[in-house]
């Protein structure tokens, strides 16, 4: 049944299958068509085209003969110091944002799961970053970090241009990354916490387990699938981050916050190396898939 639907029956020609199925198949495809066309044209097509471009010397200009160059872009990438610098920044950014955001969100979710007063305030606040356009989040934090009119220097009694400082810019945007991503992670973890059966805690209580032991032996193992899922998603989102950091620093100062996607964007749209930038994207996709695969595989082996 499922298999028959994947292939379109030629219209008007009753095949070997019964009439009903082929009519249903035809109807399915007819109903799907308006949605399929744009997705194929502007999303699946370009993705395949982009993978192809990675093996060419394509320039992002109208007048350029494109030819196949094999793995030339890849060898260029391996020898490109600027790429490796950007890769390192991307690794620091995505790992620290994912880990810190997870720890912060876990703490908040545990608090929100307790019967505390005023937790409604925190609950609403935890959803607000979700409701804000990424560009506005970036601009808001620029106001906070502003060397003259910003509040942070005043609070800390410092006189620092946070986003223009070579060693402080990356930590500064990592804080913004954590602030931005906390809502999703908190909401998902909270939902996970509420799914832990109450009986387990009661049993733990009877066995005389303290709150720390209960957290370590009941909550964490029960939460594990949720934790694996949300940290994987967060990692992917973080390593592919572009807009927020573009608004905050445009990759500056001196490339200190140039995440891989900002690097690729510059290569493609400022220097117009479309082929090279595509290879960078492809290489990053492979790295992400490898990291994700390793992580999920290890998690699955440990749970068994």
């Amino acid at each position: 049944m499922t298999a028959t639907v994947t292939r379109a029956a030629p219209p008007g020609r009753p095949g070997t299958r019964s009439r009903g199925i082929s009519r249903q198949t035809r109807e399915t495809w007819l109903l799907m068509l308006p949605a399929l066309v744009p997705v194929l044209l502007f999303s699946v097509g370009p993705l395949l085209y982009g993978i192809g471009l990675a093996f060419t010397d394509a320039r992002n200009t109208r007048v350029h003969e494109t030819s196949f160059v094999g793995l030339e872009n890849f060898t260029r990438l391996l020898g490109d110091d600027e790429f490796w610098a950007s890769f390192k920044i991307g690794a620091i950014w995505s790992v620290s944002v994912t880990v810190l955001q997870f720890l912060a969100a876990l703490g908040l979710a545990l608090l929100l799961n307790e019967r505390l007063r005023f937790r409604g305030v925190a609950r609403v606040l935890a959803v607000v970053p979700w409701a804000m356009p990424p560009v506005v989040i970036g601009l808001m934090w620029k106001l906070v970090y502003h060397p003259d009119a910003g509040i942070l220097n005043d609070l800390l009694g410092t006189d620092v241009n946070w986003l223009a400082d070579f060693s402080l810019a990356l930590p500064a945007i990592i804080v913004v990354g954590i602030w931005t991503g906390m809502p999703q992670t908190t909401v998902v973890l909270l939902a996970g916490l509420q799914g832990v059966p109450k009986e387990l805690y009661e049993a733990g209580h009877m066995d005389g387990a303290g709150s720390w032991r209960r957290f370590w032996n009941i909550t964490l193992p029960q939460l594990r699938p949720v934790i694996v899922a949300i940290t994987s998603l967060d990692f992917v989102w973080n390593i592919n981050q572009f807009g927020l950091v573009y608004v905050l620093t445009q990759g500056g100062p001196g490339g200190q916050t140039r995440l891989p996607m900002l690097f690729a964007y510059e290569e493609a749209f400022r220097y117009r190396f479309a082929g090279y930038a595509s290879m960078l994207g492809l290489a990053m996709a492979i790295v992400v898939l490898a990291v994700l695969g390793l992580y999920l595989w290890r998690q699955m082996r440990e749970t068994r």
Partner: protein
């Protein structure tokens, strides 16, 4: 007493989450003179709405807001029109396409946008759609579609099949039963999907940045970013005001779906 550390921690979270928001609001309500003070103030001494008026006075910002509105309206309406029939097919007929659609949502998350946006830019350029709003609408529709489909088919699934069968028994044709039985029950789902698509398009920055390079056709997020020039602190007030106004559509959206959030994901988190 055991609760004290917990309340301290909760307060710390509230401060961390709230202080940038408070600062944005505070900046939006300040006069340029107060902004230039060496010692920044949390609460404006002479709060003013002049920044909001100034933001409306900026030709660029108003034009960009109108263009964003047009793009978001067109994208959301087209997205829903295109995904309605498909979602019906997904929900009513068992099909591989079902899993393919969900799989595509996941795959499109893993692949970096650069891999799609370079060829997309080239395709749009060949179609003469670069620097045009229809070009951006096409892209927004494409990238909202998978999730909108998935949302809508959930709503279709919730409409009992028996209702359609009853209509058929009463002699209604297939189309007739869809229009007069399924469609009215689907309205809340359609509204939610419309809002979701609208917000996605209204907030979108990355594709707009690549596709709209001419300042005359830029949408609101792009113009807001351009607005922060090196001109110093004088324009920070209007910028903050405009940023707040750009957030209004999302806030409306979240206020509307709040009840659903409560009954769904956040169930229990709100009680007590």
């Amino acid at each position: 007493m055991r609760r004290v550390p917990q309340y301290v921690a909760l307060a710390a979270y509230v401060v961390f989450l709230a202080f940038p928001l408070v600062w944005l609001l505070s900046t939006a309500l300040k006069t340029p003179r107060e902004m230039a003070l060496a010692d920044p103030t949390w609460i404006p001494r002479e709060p003013t709405l002049a920044n909001f008026a100034d933001a409306f006075g900026e030709q660029d910002l108003v034009g960009a807001a109108v263009r964003s509105l047009v793009v978001a309206l067109a994208s959301s309406v087209i997205t829903v029109l295109v995904s309605l029939p498909a979602s019906y097919a997904m929900a009513r007929y068992r099909s591989l396409l079902n899993r393919v659609a969900i799989g595509w949502v996941l795959v499109s998350q893993v692949f970096p946008f650069i891999l799609i946006i370079i060829p997309l830019f080239m395709i749009l350029r060949d179609l003469d759609l670069v620097n045009t709003l229809p070009g951006l609408v096409a892209v927004h529709v494409t990238f909202t579609l998978p999730f909108a489909l998935w949302m809508l088919q959930g709503y279709v699934r919730a409409v009992p099949r028996e209702l359609e069968e009853a209509a058929a028994v009463d002699g209604a044709g297939r189309l007739r039963s869809i229009v007069s039985v399924v469609a009215p029950l689907l309205t809340p789902g359609v509204v939610a999907t419309l809002l979701f698509s609208f917000i996605s398009s209204w907030n979108e920055f990355m594709f707009a940045l690549v596709i709209l390079q001419d300042p005359d056709v830029m949408t609101l997020p792009l113009t807001l970013v351009r607005f922060t020039g090196p001109e110093g602190v004088a324009r920070l007030g209007p910028l903050a005001a405009a940023s707040l106004m750009a957030t209004i559509p999302s806030l409306i959206f979240f206020a509307i779906i709040q009840r659903r959030l409560k009954s769904g994901l956040m169930a229990g988190a709100v009680k007590g």
